[in-house]
Symmetry: C2
Subunit: 221 residues, 2 copies
């Protein structure tokens, strides 16, 4: 399977690319608005993997180019670029599953607040922006980029997956499950995305208020 | 120290009463609007503890009566009774720390939504309702009542604690830490309560969508 990381030059894209390349047999492709930046990132990720004894080829290209051949395209972009990114690749989405990990947050005096768009969640915004026949799945919202991209770090985290297309959701769960230390958990339909996204500012507030806790993830039991 | 569970006849009150009575030396008192119901619950909790080899005396009384002598009063009532309960005991709050575990939720087609009051969170509503000199701490929002009140079950859960009064928050953290299997974590000021409370519908949605998962709690790392 081919997995494209749109905006894959950013920190969440890096972590997912490294872990997917190390732990799975999927073909990993880094996308960016800027083809040269994508190529540079892919090369740097290959080097990081080589430093950890992993030989992997990571392809790259402009976002819409890499979307054309991808089975799963992960929107590894900040929430405020999400709609623009989907619009830019829209014509290339043919049987592609779109994955939305972005979260809207704002800072106040106490810490970070969950700041969803008017449609209820960023994942819902992605679904509303994508063409009707493109399945959108929310996942990877709560991954701390620092630990994710550190291949020496163990994760042992849960990944919360939401979506209305059961088959697409299962594909994303399988992809997640193939990464060492990640356990996918189904949180139901897209309407349940707000509480999933709202966990991200909580993780950051927790790290800010507890010495020795940083790059936090979560495990449910 | 004396710990009063206002509305302690309900399921969260039961779990906290049983665990506090078993695991700590604090004096546990069950409060209710109805003194007889409180007495009945206290007796039943003593019996449950006796069945588990624990001899404990659990006192009881009407909510305002038990508040008068309590060092910590836990508002173990549904969110929609919170303000009324605080108003009813207000004159007895003298150096008492009020603890708010309530969460506002509503159901839609996908599952449970976090449904905060206009002031941002139920914990903030408790703080706004209580007299200015009464410290309000948010805690115990995310405890699954079923597992909490089952003394045969191990917890190994984190308890998220929010509040603007550092000393009061530390007292609640100490109380939490004394219960086997609960680890208190500071989530900062009252403004951070929405994301803490929003975790509760997420836990319930997770249980609803994953076979074999129920009475969920959470562990951060």
């Amino acid at each position: 399977m081919q997995v494209a990381l749109l905006g894959g030059t950013g920190d969440i894209g890096e972590g997912l690319a490294l872990r997917l390349a190390r732990d799975t047999d999927h073909e990993i492709v880094i996308g960016s608005r800027d083809e040269a930046k994508a190529a540079e990132a892919a090369e740097s990720y290959e080097q990081t993997l080589a430093d950890h004894g992993v030989t992997a080829t990571i392809a790259s290209g402009e976002n819409s180019e890499v979307t054309a051949t991808a089975n799963i395209a992960i929107l590894a972009v900040p929430a405020y670029y999400l709609a623009d990114t989907i619009n830019a690749v829209e014509s290339q989405l043919d049987g592609t599953i779109l994955v939305s990990p972005a979260v809207g947050m704002k800072r106040d005096d106490d810490g970070l607040r969950y700041n969803p768009p008017g449609v209820g969640s960023v994942t819902q915004l992605a679904a509303n922006t994508a063409p009707d026949d493109v399945p959108v799945v929310g996942a990877f919202h709560n991954l701390a980029a620092g630990r994710l991209s550190n291949l020496d770090a163990d994760l042992d985290w849960d990944v919360l997956v939401v979506g209305d297309d059961q088959s697409a959701k299962e594909s994303v769960c399988s992809l997640t499950d193939a990464i060492d230390g990640l356990r996918p958990l189904d949180v139901g339909g897209l309407g349940n995305a707000p509480e999933v996204e709202g966990l991200t500012p909580l993780l950051i507030n927790l790290a800010a208020n507890n010495d020795g806790m940083h790059d936090l993830g979560v495990k449910f039991w």
